[in-house]
Amino acid sequence: MTRSIIASVGVLVAMAATSIAAHHSPVMFDRSVAKTLVGTVVEFAWTNPHASIQLDVPNEKGGVDRWGVELGSPQSMARTGWRSSILKAGDKVTVVVNPLKSGEFGGIFVSMTLADGRKLGGRATD
């Protein structure tokens, strides 16, 4: 006879605070932290289901850290003003992300300021 176990409602409620707005689980991003990255675009991928930016950010040791920034779907981003030509390799940008909890160089997009001062938001997670 199999033993059955009653799940903790409290644990499940805590889990329910997450969203399912990406093709992967979003729980590894720390939504309570807004980290500002000032760096140089290495690649801007205008792809489904998510666009993404690879960004070289100078670190305290005199080198650079390669950050991955996850954005929303191009379809939804286009509705907020994004275009595939808006970024190219070599552009200097300031990007705010919710970083990975693990401390790795990655985050989910919150907002961006281009070198010419234009600001872009847009939902990062659909």
Binding site: V11, A17, H23, M28
Partner: protein
């Protein structure tokens, strides 16, 4: 004049006759029935049928308020086998990671989760079937309405969206879905890590409750993963402002995304 090759030719002739003989004629297997008409065959589409109570044709999206996309209820009893996965998921969450995020690694979401992703679903209703294509990875789901029965379990190829057979009951479309693969298939993502076994069975009761609003009641059983029935209703709304597009989950996609290449993924 006989030659030395004559016996060989005779043997080959016998083999050829044997190969041409249907297996059924040898008395070992019953005759295989002819395949049914396909859902798109004109002869099937044109069969007389009662008019459907509603037409789903259009683009729909789950009314994703709060966490209503989830399919795991607030309380449940898992089998010991499923409980192991659930507890590993809880631990991963506490550690800032995620357990077995197979969807993130490009495995199909499968039913039921495919219905409540944030992407819309294009639906085309015919008299014989409803074709659904999710914007999310272009996942295809077909609900047959032409009176066919579920496929012989010894023949069916199990899939993440399962095999769906629908029938009309008054103003409600009742859809019976089974034949899931039993691996890399979950009832949640990044939360309650409850696996869907090959015995997952889903009954959906679809009702067009208002113009532009669809309610689908889900009753789900999976005796290998949980006890009893899980029952809930999801609301969907028309999205007349968007079309689905081609979306693929590709290896280089995940190479670009911090969440899918993170070491915090527990496999």
């Amino acid at each position: 004049m006989p030659t030395r090759t004559t016996p060989l030719l005779a043997v080959l002739a016998c083999l050829a006759i044997g190969a041409a003989t249907p297996v059924a004629a040898q008395g070992q297997q019953p005759p295989v029935p002819p395949p049914p008409l396909s859902a798109l065959a004109p002869a099937n589409l044109s069969k007389p049928r009662p008019k459907a109570p509603f037409d789903l044709t259009g683009t729909w999206q789950h009314d994703g308020q709060a966490n209503t996309w989830r399919f795991v209820p607030e309380t449940f009893k898992l089998t010991p086998e499923a409980q192991v996965h659930y507890e590993r998921g809880v631990q991963a969450l506490k550690d800032g990671g995620v357990y077995r995020d197979d969807i993130g690694q490009c495995w199909p979401a499968g039913l039921p989760l495919i219905m409540t992703r944030v992407w819309p679903i294009a639906m085309i209703q015919l008299p014989t079937a409803i074709y659904m294509v999710s914007h999310f990875m272009n996942s295809t789901r077909i609900i047959y309405l032409d009176g066919r029965a579920h496929t012989d379990p010894d023949i069916v190829v199990r899939t993440f969206n399962g095999e769906s057979i629908g029938r009309w009951e008054g103003d409600t479309l009742v859809v019976d879905t089974k034949y899931f693969p039993g691996h890399h298939h979950w009832l949640d993502q990044g939360g309650a890590s409850v696996p869907a076994s090959e015995d997952l069975h889903i009954i959906e009761r679809v009702r067009m409750v208002a113009d532009g609003r669809l309610d689908i009641e889900y009753v789900m059983t999976d005796p290998k993963s949980w006890e009893g029935e899980w029952k809930m209703t999801k609301t969907f709304r028309r999205r007349d402002d968007t079309d689905i597009t081609e979306v693929q989950c590709l290896p280089d996609l995940n190479d670009h995304l911090p969440a899918t290449r993170s070491k915090a993924i527990v496999k």
